[in-house]
Symmetry: C2
Subunit: 149 residues, 2 copies
């Protein structure tokens, strides 16, 4: 690392700028085409992979806090894309699942998500994408480890 500070070479800055550029584009695509916010899209993605998931587990899987999960889930239930079933083992919680409409919407979104990702990351080879994924996971783990400071 440089001993002197230059914003242009400061990794937190580079990470933030790249992430904002990608997030802005993704969020425009989802909102315009499907009326979904990113938090809502993430819940749908997890529910398409694993059915009957509690809000707590959705929070772990999406790295979002319980407030964000609660609001996103309420919006999806309101739209009829997600249904809530009682959890017999714990009356405080419940299971969330995609409805038929939710599955149909997911079937529309998934190809769009992959296409948009493809456009944005097509400057990178398959190996470079895997490398970026691995580097980002290590940075994330390292940043979270010291988060309480």
């Amino acid at each position: 690392m440089p001993a002197t500070l230059r914003l242009d070479r400061f990794l937190p800055y580079r990470l933030s700028v790249a992430s904002n550029a990608v997030s802005t584009r993704i969020s425009n695509a989802y909102r315009r085409r499907f009326g979904l916010k990113i938090a809502e899209w993430r819940l749908i993605a997890i529910l398409a992979e694993h059915d009957r998931v509690t809000p707590a587990r959705l929070g772990e899987a999406t790295r979002m806090d319980k407030i964000t999960v609660s609001r996103a889930a309420a919006a999806l239930v309101e739209r009829g894309l997600v249904a809530a079933d009682a959890n017999p083992a714990d009356g405080r919680s419940h299971f969330l699942s995609l409805t038929g409409d939710g599955r149909a919407l997911y079937a529309e979104i998934a190809p769009v998500a992959l296409a948009v990702e493809g456009e944005m990351f097509d400057a990178l080879s398959r190996d470079e994408r895997a490398l970026l994924d691995a580097l980002l996971r290590r940075v994330e783990a390292s940043a979270m480890r010291g988060e309480q400071e």
Copy 2:
């Protein structure tokens, strides 16, 4: 890229999660120790590198829009960290510079910024950091190219 979508392997998701973890930690560090928001910190960093910069050029250098620059600059002027001089060549614009207090604060922040960056990215070797920097720049360029869609 996988033909099927898995949130956990979706690069925009990985990028967002890593960036949020880093940004949260950095923003806590700056706010608690120096009372600065990230936008304000970025202006200080650029003004420490280049003196007498117009708001428009600050916006280019920090990748922030003119509204964000304007508000951050106003806050720094209010605190006496930044001074504005008339621009003889264009009365609509002005030059911003760090004051003595601004330079003194920068001298305190810079080592802290480098130390926090060091902690968060110490899981990566010097080469890996350079690689991450380069990959992020390419992703950014690629994401911005299609932003108008």
